[in-house]
Symmetry: C2
Subunit: 337 residues, 2 copies
C-alpha cells in the first residue's frame, strides 16, 4: 500500500511532516509518497525503496480561496497528490493543508460517490466507554440541507460499522434538547428523514456526547465545527484553571502528565486525522498544526480506511439504497445494513 | 425593590427554590414575592414583611408546549408572576422553568422593546482576564435572521456597558474561522450589518472565547446552545479524566475542590441566571436544575439589572438608533453609544 503525504500544507512544512511520514512508514510498514518540493524533501529521506517523492513545489496556503487555488495551482502538492490517488499511483492522500482546499481538490480530482451531494469531514471523539463517537460534518459544509445530513448519516453509519467495528451503530442528531420537537428547522426536517434509519436513537445534546450513548452524531458543518472548538475551549479552560490551582504543588507533575495524554486522545482534528467522507477516494485531513506524531496517526487512519475498503462500502451502501428506492438519497426512510 | 420568584418551575420545586429566595432576600436586602402554591410556600417562610406569596398553583412543565401553556395556564406561577411585573407589583421575574415557556410568557405578558423582533438569552462565561464574555443568543431562537443577530449585538453592547461596566465593549461574531470570508450564510450576512458597529472586532472561534479577547459574542440560539453544552461537555470529560487519573492520589482532594469552585463560575446557566434581553421588563432564566445557591445568584442578576435600568437603556439605545436612521434596526451600520 502507498499513501501520498502532502508536505507543503499547514504550519510545519516540510520537515515535521516528513518526520511524521517516516514514523508512519516504519510503524505501519507502508510506502509513502512525499508530495512537495523534492529539493527540500530528499535530504530528509533515508535511502529506502518504500520512500519516494512527487515533485510538486507549489504550496496552497490558508489564505488561498479553495476553488481558485485548486484551479490555478496545478503544480501544488495538493492537486498533484490527489491526482496520484486518482491515477492509482497511491491508495490514499493525507494533508494538513487548508481544509477547504483539501475538500475542493478532492472533489475536483476524485469526484463524489454517486448519491452524495456534499462530502463531510468526520472526527472520532473519545467517550467514557472507550469506543468513541463519530461526529460529522465538522467543517466541510457551512450550510447544509436535510438531504446532506441524511447522507452524512449513511456515511457515518458505514464508517462506524466498517472502520470502527461497531456492529449496530446507534445514530443521533446533534440537537439542543432531547425532546423530538426540539431544534432548528434543519434539524426538524432531518429528523423526518431519520425516523426509520436503523439504529436512530433521536437527539443528542453536546454535553452528552462523551458518555458513549451513541456511535454516530450528525450535524451541519458549521455546528459541528463550533461544537469541536467549544469542547476544545472547555478542555483548555479546565486544564488552565486546575494547573494554576495546583501550581505550587509538587504533585502537579502528575496532573500535567495526565492532561497531556488526555488531550492527545481528545482532539483528533489536532492530534490525528479526520476522513473526508463521500469522495471517490480516501482523503484524510490532518490539523494545520499537526506535529510528526499527529501526521503518523493520520496516515494510520488512512491505512485503516484503505484496508476496510471504505469508499467501496459507502458506494455499495448507496447503490443498494438507490436500487431499493429507485431514486436519489432523498427519501424519508432508508435501510443501510 | 421587589422580585418575583417562580417556585413551580424546574426540578427542585418548591422547597429548594424558596430556600434560594430566602437567601437572596437576606443577602441583597430585597423583597421577594414567591409565586406558586401558597399552601406549600407559606410554611417555609419566616414571618417577615419583605416576604410574600402570590398564589398561582398551576405548574408549567418541560413537556408543555410554550405558547399553549401560556395561553391555557392562566393561573400558573409563570403567567401570574410575569403579570405582577407588568402591573408594577414587582420589578423583575426569576424562573427556573422551561426556557421556551418563560420566553413565551415574557413576550405575551411584557411585550418587546420596540425594534427588537426576537428577545435573546444571554450568559456571561468566565474568561482568563476575569471580566467575562457575554454570549447571546444561547437558546431562545433556534432560527435567526441577520437582523436578529444585529439586534442581539445592540442588546449585548448595552448589557456589557451598563451591567458589566465595560466602557468600550469589544464585540465579535461566533464563527468557525478568524478570516472575514469564513462562516455560514447567516454569519456572512450578519457581518455586513456589523462592519461599522462600534467595537466590532470580527470573528471569534469558540476555543478562543475564554481568552478575554472580546466582551460580547453574538450567534443564533441553536449555535449558542450547542456551544454552551459543548463547553460543558469539554469541562466534564476533562474533570472526569483527571479525577480518575489522580483517584488514588492525595492531590485529588485539592483537584476536586478547585474543580467545584471553577464549575460554579463556569456555567451561569446552571449556577446562576441568564437575562432574557429584548422584552419590556426584566426576566432572568435560571437553570432547571438550579439549587438554592443558583437561585440566589439569579435573583442577584435580576437586582443588578433593575438597578442598571437595563430595559430603559436598551430602549433608549434603539430609539436613538431609529431617530438617526429613520427606520427599524435593519440598516447596515449603527452607532450605539
Amino acid at each position: 500500500m502507498r499513501i501520498v503525504l502532502d508536505t507543503l500544507g499547514g504550519d510545519n512544512v516540510p520537515a515535521e511532516i516528513v518526520r511524521g511520514g517516516l514514523m508512519a512508514a516504519k510503524a505501519f510498514d507502508l510506502e509513502i509518497l512525499f508530495a512537495g518540493d523534492e529539493t527540500l524533501i530528499e535530504p530528509l529521506l533515508p535511502p529506502d525503496p518504500k520512500l519516494s517523492t512527487l515533485h510538486a513545489p507549489q504550496a496552497v496556503t490558508m489564505e488561498d480561496a479553495p476553488a481558485e487555488a485548486v484551479r490555478r495551482k496545478k503544480d501544488s502538492s495538493l492537486v498533484r497528490g490527489i491526482k496520484a490517488v486518482h491515477e492509482g499511483d497511491a491508495q490514499a492522500f493525507v494533508s494538513p493543508a487548508n481544509t477547504g482546499a483539501v475538500m475542493a481538490a478532492s472533489l475536483f480530482g476524485l469526484g463524489r460517490v454517486q448519491g452524495i451531494e456534499r462530502p463531510g469531514i468526520a472526527v472520532v471523539l473519545p467517550t467514557v466507554s472507550g469506543r468513541g463517537v463519530l461526529v460529522l460534518d465538522v467543517g466541510a459544509n457551512t450550510d447544509c440541507s436535510a438531504e446532506n445530513l441524511f447522507q452524512f448519516a449513511i456515511m457515518g453509519h458505514v464508517y462506524a460499522r466498517r472502520v470502527m467495528d461497531v456492529e449496530y451503530p446507534r445514530l443521533a442528531l446533534v440537537n439542543i434538547g432531547s425532546e423530538p420537537h426540539k431544534g432548528n428547522d434543519l434539524v426538524k426536517r432531518t429528523r423526518r428523514y431519520l425516523e426509520n434509519f436503523p439504529g436512530f436513537v433521536g437527539n443528542i445534546e453536546p454535553n452528552h456526547l462523551f458518555q458513549g450513548e451513541v456511535d454516530v452524531a450528525v450535524c451541519d458543518g458549521f455546528v459541528g465545527n463550533v461544537l469541536l472548538k467549544a469542547v476544545e475551549g472547555g478542555v483548555s479552560i479546565t486544564s488552565a484553571v486546575l494547573k494554576s490551582a495546583l501550581a505550587r504543588n509538587p504533585l502537579s507533575v502528575l496532573l500535567r502528565h495526565a492532561l497531556r495524554r488526555f488531550k492527545r486522545e481528545l482532539d483528533p482534528s489536532r492530534y490525528g486525522g479526520a476522513p473526508l467522507l463521500g469522495v471517490r477516494g480516501i482523503t484524510i485531513v490532518a490539523h494545520g498544526n499537526a506535529n510528526a506524531e499527529a501526521i503518523k496517526s493520520a496516515v494510520g487512519v488512512a491505512k485503516h480506511a484503505v484496508e476496510c475498503d471504505l469508499v467501496g462500502r459507502i458506494d455499495a451502501q448507496l447503490s443498494g439504497y438507490f436500487k431499493q428506492h429507485n431514486r436519489p438519497a432523498k427519501a424519508h426512510t432508508s435501510t443501510p445494513s
